[in-house]
Structure formats: C-alpha cells, structure tokens
C-alpha cells in the first residue's frame, strides 16, 4: 500500500485521536501549571510547577497511590489464577453447557461498572444477604471500616475482571496441541504435570497480554471505588483516580487536579514504557 493511501484510510482516526487525545493531554499539562478554581476558571493564574510539587508533597496522594498499587497487586494475580482455573474447568464440559456457563460468567464483565458496584454494595447493606450471612456465620456485625471497605473493593475488582482472564485463557486452551498432550499421556504424565509443563508455557504470551491489560485497567479503577466508599475519606480507600476526581470537584482545585492526572500518567508510564518499546520493536520486526 502506498503511504498516501494509508493516510487516507487512517486519516479520520488519526485526526480524531490527535484532536481529542493528544491536544487535551498537552492542555492538561499546561493547566496543571495554573492555579485554577471555580472562581477563576476563565482567567487561570500561572504558577509554574507549584501544583506539581504540591501534589508530590500531598500525603493523601501517596496514600491513594499505595492503595492503587495494593489493588493492582491483588486483583491482577487473583484474576489470572481464578480465570485460569475456571477456564480449565470449562474446558472439560460439553459445548452446550459451556455456552450457558459462559453467558453467566460474562455478566459481571458487561454490566455497567456503577451498576455492578451498586449490586455488590446492596449485598452488604444492613439489609443485604451477605451481611446477614456474615453475621450468622461469623457472629459479629458487619461494619464498614477501613479494612472491610477495602476488601469489598478488592472482591469487586476480582468479580469484575475475572471473566476477561477466564475467556482469554479459555480460548488459549482451545489452541493446545493435542499431539503434545497425547505424547505426554503416553509418557505417564499426570494431569498436574501436564498443566505445569505444557499448558502453562503455551499460555505464556496470553498471560503477558492479560497481565498488561488488567494492570492498566486496575490502575485506572474509579467507578467501583466511587460508589463503595461514597468518597468518604475515613476509609482511606482512595485510588489515584478518585482522589484526582475529588480534588477537582469536591476540593475545587482544578489546576492541582490536572497536575495530579499528569503525574498519574507518569506513574503508569513507568510500567508501560518497557512494553511500548517491546511492542515497537515487535512491529518493526514484523514489517
């Protein structure tokens, strides 16, 4: 294909991405260098790097960063393990039953996150089913504390993302080489050995893909935390996204919020840049 044809095809897409992603990003960096609140929205006040420094010195920012990190550290491995396990199980059943199970398993993934969190929360309200079970089984009342709210957020994260890992692994399992497995059986390998030595290596590139995507998504978690904590700082369960949001619309410091958003991007870039470089090299190779 000629270069001009490429630009004609990809033109609209590139145009809209530049206009509505690249430019706003630059604007955000610029806005981060201004002191902006709702009172002076049309005349921002230039303060240079002061907002950025203020964010870096903000304890709650680092607290939210830590919690986001903790969230990622739990949700990503947990979804991969659970997803892998259920995919293996799903592989064992007939095609028809598979279809039914898959429809049920996909539901958490397709539900509107706000709605899904709402549903999750209703289970733990004073009138909720799980509150009741918790009290009956464990004998103590279920209370919203720092710990319990965070646990709920993590459980929700698992519930919401597991289907993604599940389905991806499941598809990967379908492409396993039957010959390899048969050869292993003849050699007397047990199920566990087969899993360890054949299945897992085969799924390596998939695992990396799931790891990458769920890490990026986990970093940006917002909707569930927004609903489950009702933006109450007492639970100390802010993530970087919710704290940025709070800074913008509750504390009313728009400049600082922009600075925070930019610094958040810097944070994810640390994870992302190695991957971008690898992707770049891969693409160049494939050319």
């Amino acid at each position: 294909m000629r270069r001009s044809t490429f630009f004609r095809f990809a033109g609209p897409s590139i145009f809209i991405m530049t206009l509505l992603m690249l430019i706003p990003l630059i604007m955000a960096i610029y806005l981060g260098m201004n002191y902006v609140t709702y009172n002076n929205v049309t005349q921002p006040q230039w303060v240079g790097l002061r907002n950025y420094i203020e964010v870096l010195q903000d304890n709650r920012f680092w607290q939210s960063f830590l919690f986001t990190g903790g969230y990622m550290l739990f949700v990503v491995p947990a979804t991969m393990i659970v997803g892998f396990g259920v995919a293996l199980l799903l592989d064992q059943v007939s095609t028809f039953t598979r279809g039914i199970y898959l429809s049920l398993f996909l539901l958490p993934f397709v539900i509107v996150p706000i709605v899904g969190t709402l549903m999750f929360k209703q289970l733990f309200e004073p009138s909720g089913l799980l509150t009741y079970l918790y009290q009956t089984i464990l004998g103590t009342k279920f209370r919203y504390t720092e710990v319990s709210v965070k646990v709920l957020i993590l459980l929700y994260g698992l519930w919401y993302v597991a289907p993604f890992a599940l389905v991806t692994y499941f598809a990967g399992l379908q492409t396993l080489s039957k010959d390899q497995l048969e050869a292993a059986s003849i050699d007397g390998a047990s199920v566990w050995q087969k899993i360890r030595h054949i299945v897992i290596p085969h799924l390596r590139s998939l695992t990396i893909l799931i790891l990458l995507i769920s890490t990026m998504d986990a970093y940006r978690v917002f909707d569930s935390v927004f609903v489950l904590t009702e933006m109450n700082p007492i639970y100390k369960a802010d993530t970087v996204m919710t704290y940025t949001f709070q800074t913008a619309v509750t504390v009313l410091r728009l400049g600082k919020a922009n600075a925070m958003a930019i610094l958040t991007i810097v944070g994810i870039m640390i994870v992302l840049i190695p991957n971008l470089i690898q992707s770049y090299r891969q693409q160049v190779e494939e050319r």
């Binding site: 095809f9 990809a10 609209p12 709402l118 909720g128 598809a171 396993l176 770049y280």
Partner: protein, 334 residues
C-alpha cells in the same frame, strides 16, 4: 486437554463451575429480588425470600402516572416488540432480502421508541434511556467506520507511520480518563457543545479508538492480501476493493469490535457526568440513588440497576460467540 473421565471428577467439575456461577450471578439476583420488594421488606435485616412482590419500584422509575388502560397498552407494546424480534431472529426464512428486513426492524424500533412516550406518561428515566441509546449507537457507528478504515490501513501498510500510530495508540489507551476530561470540558465550553450528544459521542469515539484500531487491525491481518489484490487487478481502486471484497468477510470481527465499543459507550460514567448537564445517560441517572439520602432509594436503585442491565444481558445472550471471539482476538495473535 482431554476430558476427565471419572464420574466423581465430572461431578466435582460441575460443582465448581456452579459455585463460580453463583459467585458471578449473586449480586445480580439479589438486586433483582430487592427491586420487587416494597420498602419494609427490602430494608429488613433478615433477608426475605418470601414476600409479596410489587411492580411499584419500576413504575415509579419509568412512569410518571399509570394510565387507566395500562394493561391493554402494555400488551400492544409487548406484541410490537415481539413481532420485531421475531423478524430479526427468523430473517432467513422470510422470502425478502435480509437488508430490507433489518432496515424495517430498525425503523420499527425507532417508531416504537418514539411512540411510547406518546401513549404512556413516561418519567425522566425513559429520556435517559433514549439518550443512552443515541450515544451508544452513535459511538459504535462512528467508531467502527473510522476504525475499520484505520485498521485496514494499519494492517496493509508496512511503513514507519503505521508503527508510530500503533505504539502511540497503545500508549493512549493506558491513559486515565480524568486527564482528558477537564480539557474536554474546556473544549466543549469553547465550542458551545456542552450537553450535546455530539460531544459525548466524539469524545467516546476518540477514547475508544486505540482499542478499536488494534483489535480491527488484528482481524484484518488474518485476511490474506491477495484477495483485494485480485480485485484491484480487475480495475477496482483500493477503497472499492475494501468495501466490496474485504468487508463482507470481516463481519464477525467487526461485530466483535462493535460489541466492545457498545459496552464502552453504554457504561461510561465519568465523561457523561462531567460533559453533560441535562442529557444524561443511564449510569449517571442511576447515581441519583447511590447517595444514601432516602431509604426508598434502595429499592429504586435496585430497579434502575436491573433496568439498565436487561438490555446488556440481551446483547450478550445474542452475541455471546462474538464477544468471546473478540476477547480472544489478541489471544490467537499472542
């Protein structure tokens, strides 16, 4: 993997899968249950599974007032809906061209949606539902159109520009929405586009593009280049070859990608919340009930949650295979 043979093994497998299903579905079932309860039953500390169900929550959500001949109207609306769905499902068996049938069904749905507020006194929630439909359909249409073009270009062009675009897109995909939202607000205010569907659609399309073009590109790369080469030799230009030869084969992949665009547009909360003042979509409308300002909101929230989920559930039931295929698009490429 070959199947486990022992009966106990198979039973255990099903038990495990059923448990996981329970885990996946419990929030939804509990909310469904709560949505049919009156206030006292719903707030009861001991969960009630036996109670007198009521439609009151849904009525309050969707209708401003009940019409006298409500049952007749409901029946006719349901009948219309069933007829349209039948046409869609059994398009193969009707001796009319598929395109005509689909067109008719789409027009039928639009007429139905237009007619409902004129026969029933619908509440604001209906307007929010319509907004959601408009935004979703708009986003999917635009996103897929320009995404297909871009994905095709990226799949067939071997130069550096494509690499740059792809890697940049990957980078953009990782960026948090909040970084863009405030600048979007400024842009929207400057162009006087705030509170319009157009702004929301455009921003959603932009935010969605990286994912869309990566996915479509991987689908396009599965189709050999010889196909359109042959067509071009016959005298078509690139674009015509693309439309006539490639796209018909690509439909499954396009549908998969369209589903993801649909989910993204339907589920969007933050962008809609900050960029619109009155033309909200369902996720924002539902957030009215999450503030804990009235115990009655518990059942209304449940009803609104179920109302928002039913359409999506129908979508996955219909398109389950495509959704799975889409999720694994990256998988096969690795």
């Amino acid at each position: 993997m070959e199947k486990v043979k022992s009966p106990t093994g198979r039973v255990l497998i099903h038990v495990a899968l059923i448990l996981f299903s329970v885990y996946s579905m419990t929030p939804f079932f509990w909310t469904l249950l709560q949505s049919f309860k009156n206030l006292k039953d719903a707030n009861s500390r001991v969960p009630k599974f036996i109670f007198t169900p009521t439609w009151a929550n849904y009525e309050e959500l969707w209708l401003r007032s009940l019409p006298e001949n409500g049952a007749t109207i409901a029946f006719f609306l349901m009948a219309a809906l069933v007829i349209l769905v039948c046409l869609l499902l059994f398009a193969k068996y009707i001796p009319v061209r598929n395109g005509v049938i689909y067109g008719f069904v789409i027009v039928g749905f639009v007429v139905l949606l237009w007619a409902i507020p004129r026969v029933l006194d619908m509440a604001k929630f209906y307007d929010y539902f319509i907004n959601t439909l408009i935004v979703t359909v708009g986003t999917v249409t635009v996103s897929i159109t320009i995404g297909c073009l871009a994905g095709y270009g990226l799949a067939r062009y071997a130069g550096m520009a494509a690499v740059v675009v792809l890697v940049a897109a990957l980078g953009f995909r990782a960026l948090p929405r909040l970084a863009f939202v405030l600048p979007y607000y400024w842009i929207g205010a400057a162009l006087n586009l705030l509170d319009t569907h157009l702004l929301v659609i455009l921003t959603l399309v932009a935010v969605n593009q990286p994912f869309t073009i990566w996915m479509l590109r991987s689908f396009f790369m599965e189709i050999p280049g010889e196909l359109e080469e042959a067509a071009m030799v016959d005298g078509c230009n690139r674009l015509t070859a693309f439309i006539r030869v490639i796209m018909p084969i690509m439909w499954p992949g396009v549908i998969s990608t369209a589903l993801f665009s649909l989910l993204l547009a339907y589920n969007e909360f933050l962008l809609v919340r900050l960029l619109t003042q009155t033309n909200w979509t369902l996720p924002v409308a539902i957030s009215r009930y999450t503030g804990g300002e009235d115990p009655r909101h518990l059942t209304l929230a449940a009803a609104s949650a179920v109302s928002a989920t039913i359409p999506i559930m129908l979508v996955i039931l219909f398109f389950q295979k495509n959704l799975v295929k889409g999720l694994t698009a990256g998988a096969v490429k690795g």
